[in-house]
Amino acid sequence: MFENAKEELYNFYLHGDVERAKAFADKCFARMNERFEDGMTVTAQKLLQYDVIVQEFDPVIFRNTPYFYETGVLTSLSDGARSAKGHSFVQANGWVYERNQHLFIEQDEELYQKRKTHGRERLYLICGPYNDTEQHFNFNCRPFLEIGACGIYERAQTELSHAKNEEEKEFLDAVCHGMLSLRRMAEKFAKKAEYLLAAEADAACKRNLSLIANTAKRVPWEPPQTFYEALETLAFLRTAMGSLEGAGPNTFGRLDKDLISFYLADIKKGILTRERAYELICQFLLIWDCHYDHDMIMEGYADHELENTYTVGGCDEDGEPLCNALTLMFLRATREEKIIFPKIKCRFSKNSPKEYLDEIDCAIVKGTSTVLLQNDDATIPALLRAGRPIKEARDYYISGCWGIATNQEKYDHGSYLNLLKPFEFSLHNLKDKMELVGITFECFDGCRNFDELYQKVLRNCELLLDAKLDVQTRGGRIFHKVDRFPIFSSTLEGCLEAHTDFTMDGAKYRDDYQLLFGLPNIVDSLMAIKTLVYDRKSYSLSEYLRAVRANWEGYEEMRLEAVRCHGWGNGHEASCALAAKFNDDLYKIFASKTGMHGGKVHMGHLTYTEIRWWGEKTLATPDGRKSGEYFAQGLTPSRLKRIPCVNDVINSMATLDPSTMAANSVINIILPSNIPLDRCEGFLRAIADTAVQSLQLNCTTKEELLDAQRHPKKYPDLIVRVTGFSAKFTSLSKEWQSEVITRNFYD
């Protein structure tokens, strides 16, 4: 279906997008530089950026879809971030940031150097100089659906009379300016559609162009009145905001919850059928999915990524399971059209309706795993403990790859803390590295008992966290001097009321989220040392460390013993108890800290593609892992552990306290292909009772993946969850295929 639309979209997105975006950026940069005046505030600079882009862009309209949204400002793979992914130029939407980013360096060159060194040594990763400045923007679409840009404009106007100073006034004026910019952009689409309509002969295309011409005159300035207009509003805002703000809006929010009233009203009025609604949903999803060539080989860091997501299912504010007609239609459309982007996140719980779980499972068991499952029963308690009121907690959604988000904050994830690095530095006694990064981690040599060693591991984790928070707090506070985001801020709860941008702490919450890397391998390493050195006394600590430092060369027997020790995920009481203690102790440390914006510091367990990159650059570990081997993702058991039954993994997860992980945690599980839906349903309900939060579930076998490697043409539609995103297995590089193939498979 939708072949004409796909052809038209692919023609545009897969050809010449980079040259187009680069030429546009060059033109806009020249105009903006011409009009720049000394003494302009950052906000004034941003408004200049809005004006030039609105003035210069030429709307792109696709005759075969009913949606208008494409500005032609960004490359196809851009999610709104200013950097052109995979290319060295900055897009037009990054002019302000580009102009001022030197401030990050000049405020404290030594600090900047330190942060770079920490990054190079892989102590942590931040998507930006000190904080994430261009991605993971948690765009709240609801105000546009409820009151339209004009409603936001009016709210800002009302607040203007209460502004306490020029700065507040400037922010509110900028919000108004931003809303008018969006209106002007849409009007340009209306004119272009009218122009194209005059020459259009095809009846279906005429209908689309006519719809666009009429709708773009009103939306998004006025709130949408129909189901189509609501989808159109979301499509337009995503691209328009990305084009103007230089920020990647990472989510459409909860589409089934937010759009159901439009759908039901249209059905009641007789202006929409179920079939037409399904068609509109498919077309809405396809316009994003066609940004991308799914057969392109994935080699690098994030080249298979389009940060475009939405959430379905879960519960309403009263805790009642949410599964409406749209929930099922979005899932069906994803399955039938094999949509990979936007990424679909499915909230579930032990109370989820069977038809909802079956619809999710239907795609997964057939080997098209495009879904991230998110367990409400382990997520909502974490949000409550983080201080969110119950209704807010129940209304969470997933932003980006797997960030738990609500509408009250920017969502500053994308910041990974590598707990394995201090572990490696101490274990291998890398004094020169410690000197280089300026942190003296405590070495393990000579520890007389396990507790002493454990306390050192914990202390080293705290030293790393302190170092990161110190660098971020001292360096990141000047973000507001580099860039401002009036349109984006106006959508977050709190900014309009506080009369200030989110970069000035305007949003309701300003917490920090630290995503941890390494718990499974550290727990396994500690279990191996405890068992072989302190309990069984098979080896002295120095003998054991010598073997690890030798990358296990000449110590294969000892390595096998280490691998055979109980470890995280095998369900054994001792390893579960150690993991739970380690997690709780980490939580206590994180809970005692203050974030860079004065808020709380939350933790979770997950990383992105670092399971490969950091694994390749980390020396041997005491769990039997050799230098360079991949690490485990989030809370997934190490790939060294042969755990025959998946239930042991799930039972292990039941021993962790989910409320400690407000930043979310993830686990990978691979079950066999074509397992019965009933089993899948039972499995998910059993999981709901544990600390599993994000679940990346694939249904395939090692044999099938190996065969797909050898005969890719036989498996054109085999889609796997990789790490925060899905991709065709045959489009992964050999290394990435190997990462998936070396995971644990369960019967």
């Binding site: 096998l560 055979r564 369900g571 239930n647 039972n651 009933d678 039972g682 499995f683 709901a688």
Partner: protein, 279 residues
């Protein structure tokens, strides 16, 4: 008694082919049939066996080095399996107490509850170790777990009566209707099996009859019609399942040093045709 023992060859968790929902299947070692197509040939002997996977072995000699008897004889101490880097050696069959098996079963209670599953006792023939089986069933029921017994039925009927109070479901195999052919392919006739089934069906117990379909043995329409005719003369079972032969167990014969008899796998069309007879 909680310390009653039996020899088992596997405890398979997260199983979904032996009864409803997610189950733990406990495989008893020892069988009084010798089905030519048996996909678990290691289940037939009641004693532990050393399984050796030739294709995994690299000839490193670690097993011989670590074995107290240098592989000249085996007392199933397991040292060779522990030290083989390729995991080419495995002991099949181990003595378990009721307590140990119950501990394994209870691990997955949340999975049974969430899926309508439970525990299935299978084999081999689980009804050859009755004391253990009865105690296991009793303990499972005490813990609120759904129980199923998978049997070939070649045991005295009193055995069934003994476990009635603690068994929710019987999975009952019918392999061939003709007793002579049954004896040819399984080593025993089927008179007792069919008589037990008839009596069992007359009770109020849930029963799933399972018929393995083995090409050239029992895959004729006539064979299935005769079984259907027999079942029609009884109180109907809750379910009749046709299980197509699969070759996944063939490699195990070499592993335990036995000669394998091969069969073809029935086509989907054939299975559909036979299922239609039963419907």
């Amino acid at each position: 008694m909680i310390d009653t023992k039996a020899i088992l060859f596997d405890i398979q968790r997260n199983s979904y082919v032996d009864g409803p929902g997610i189950r733990t299947t406990v495989f008893f070692k020892g069988c009084n049939l010798r089905c030519a197509w048996c996909h678990n040939p290691e289940s037939q002997s009641a004693l532990p066996q050393m399984m050796f996977y030739q294709r995994k072995c690299t000839g490193c000699g670690k097993c011989k080095e670590k074995c107290p008897h240098h592989l000249e004889r085996c007392d199933f101490c397991g040292r060779c399996t522990l030290y083989c880097p390729q995991e080419a050696r495995e002991i099949c069959g181990k003595e378990y107490t009721v307590r140990e098996v119950l501990y394994e079963i209870l691990k997955d209670q949340s999975f049974y509850n969430s899926s309508g599953g439970g525990v299935t006792f299978s084999g081999g023939e689980c009804m050859l170790q009755m004391d253990f089986l009865t105690e296991m069933l009793k303990r499972c029921k005490e813990n609120g777990i759904h129980t199923a017994v998978d049997t070939a039925g070649h045991v005295p009927y009193e055995h069934f009566e003994k476990i009635f109070p603690y068994t929710d479901l019987f999975l009952y195999d019918v392999k061939c209707f003709d007793s002579g052919k049954h004896k040819q392919y399984t080593g025993v006739g089927n008179k007792l099996i069919l008589a037990n089934l008839k009596r069992l069906l007359a009770t109020d117990k849930a029963i799933w009859v399972r018929i393995p379909i083995i090409p050239s043995v029992n895959d004729s329409e006539e064979e299935i019609r005769r079984i259907k005719c027999f079942l029609d003369s009884c109180k109907p079972p809750d379910k009749v399942e046709l299980l197509p032969y699969h070759a996944m167990g063939e490699h195990k014969y070499a592993v335990i040093g036995k000669k394998v008899q091969t069969f073809s796998v029935p086509s989907e069309e054939k299975m559909k045709q036979l299922k239609n007879i039963l419907s």
